[in-house]
Amino acid sequence: MSLARRRFTSRAMTALCGLALLLALLPLVSLLMLVISRGAAGLSFDFLTQLPRPVGESGGGVGNAIVGSLSIVALASLIGIPVGVGAGVYLAENGDGRAGKLIRFTAEVLSGVPSIVVGIVAYGLFVVPMHHFSALAGAVALSVLMIPTLARGTEELVRLVPRTLREASLALGIPEWKTALRVVVRTALPGIVTTALLAIARALGETAPLLFTALNNQYWSHRPDEPTASLTVQIFNDAVSPYDELHARAWSAALVLLMLVGLLSIGARLFARLRARGQR
């Protein structure tokens, strides 16, 4: 191949890659622009702190849904992170046996279960016997969705820790379990934190598992066994309603949700970068 031809091919390929990048960015950019243009007008301090008002009354906000979303996700993390990370560490440390294969298989199947199905199961297991909708049921449903991602992510990260480090610890007479937790997991921790933050961000955006579990609430919820509002369910309800005012509220709430998820993702990135710098 002549030099001119190689140059031409190289330029053409670069242009094609650039085009692909533009195409990939297009949906993201248009989504952001649409949500901002429709939602920004409704944003105010009141919108973030007030309870929703009925149709016809002006003002009001989605304060309870913001607090509800955050508390359901916090509760879900409280359940999901220890179980998911624990399972991941187990898989990495002795995942080659029978139990390990079983857990890995379960996690794989679980990660393929549609979230609405998880919601129905949580409804059957928690809402029906307890006789009311609750944040707790919603949190359990979300944690079930978080666990497989966390387990597989943690496993990968723990396996990346060099064997020489584990040997250094064992050679000091440190027992295997302590080596696993205090040396191996400790070393993989920055990555695990990033994975956890991303899992939290994903859980924050789930709607289906909350529809039959946490349901919704027009007021502040004070206990985990009460029906609890969330941004996603609030958006869903407002969007399917026939009123323009509620549609506007849905757009603004969507913008708030996007900002929360964005903050978490940026936080995860920053954390990863800070740690990477600290290592050097």
Partner: protein, 272 residues
């Protein structure tokens, strides 16, 4: 691999290993064999190391040197499918018996690896004290750190930045940090698997000097590919070949007057 015969004559003072054959052995291997799965990599090795001496283990790559030292602190059995047979004694006590907890044994038999492997998330100080802390041993941590770093000849270079990351040290300093970390828990035996192979001549010389000091208080087993290093740093030398112990004895004798032709070929660089 080895280009010139080792300069044995000029190999510094050899503190005559006071009748090493009659001294009480610190470490004794009797008919030791080891396998990885079905591959037999150590064959009936019998050898003893007197207390407060340095044993160098030499031999071509893959002959089982690392496997042998890893048997001494029972790291060998951590490899899936690995097993060992025969007897291994420290101060006459059988290490391979069921009664010996490998975790306790590893506190008595320290190890330094080929590549420096400090804990990357910990500071210099915390690296040295790690064995102490994670084993829940109480004591004056600052004093232990200073003493261990002094013994590893690293104190002067790091005393002003003890809380810097261990990865901010050079390779040679990291290796001495690993030695300090092993020394902090006061082992009776120190195993060193090619501790200087990733280091430059100056760092290597420092480590060899260190070994001379260390044998005042403990027994050292060092694996090396460097004949000069074996000749300079050790009292006794063992030559392994294809999983067998071909010959062992006083270092001087191994290098000047080996009994086995294979030993002679190896130490003079005819094969390697």
């Amino acid at each position: 691999m080895i280009s010139a015969p080792p300069p044995v004559a000029s190999s510094g003072p050899h503190p005559a290993p006071a009748a090493s054959d009659t001294a009480r052995p610190k470490i004794e291997a009797i008919d030791l064999s080891a396998w990885y799965g079905t591959t037999h990599v150590l064959r009936n090795v019998s050898l003893s190391v007197p207390a407060n001496t340095v044993l160098a283990i030499i031999g071509p790559s893959g002959c089982g040197k690392s496997t042998f030292v890893r048997c001494l602190n029972r790291m060998h059995e951590l490899v899936p499918g690995a097993r060992q047979s025969g007897q291994l004694r420290i101060d006459g006590e059988d290490l391979l018996s069921r009664k010996v907890d490998p975790v306790d044994l590893r506190r008595r038999v320290g190890m330094v690896f080929q590549r420096p492997n400090p804990f990357p998330t910990l500071s210099i100080f915390d690296n040295v004290i790690a064995g102490f802390k994670l084993n829940g041993i109480r004591g004056d941590h600052a004093a232990v750190v200073e003493k261990s770093l002094r013994r590893a000849a690293l104190w002067d270079e790091v005393k002003d930045r003890l809380h810097a990351s261990a990865l901010s040290l050079s390779g040679g300093q990291q290796q001495r940090l690993c030695i300090a970390r092993a020394l902090a828990i006061e082992p009776e035996v120190l195993l060193m698997d090619e501790p200087a192979s990733a280091l430059d001549p100056i760092a290597t010389a420092k480590i060899e000097e260190l070994i001379h000091e260390l044998k005042q208080v403990l027994t050292v087993v060092i694996v090396t590919h460097n004949m000069q290093q074996a000749a300079r740093a050790s009292d006794r030398t063992a030559f392994f070949y294809m999983g067998e112990l071909i010959e062992h004895g006083d270092t001087e004798q191994i290098f000047t007057n080996p009994r086995e032709p294979r030993t002679e070929d190896y130490v003079t660089g005819k094969f390697g």
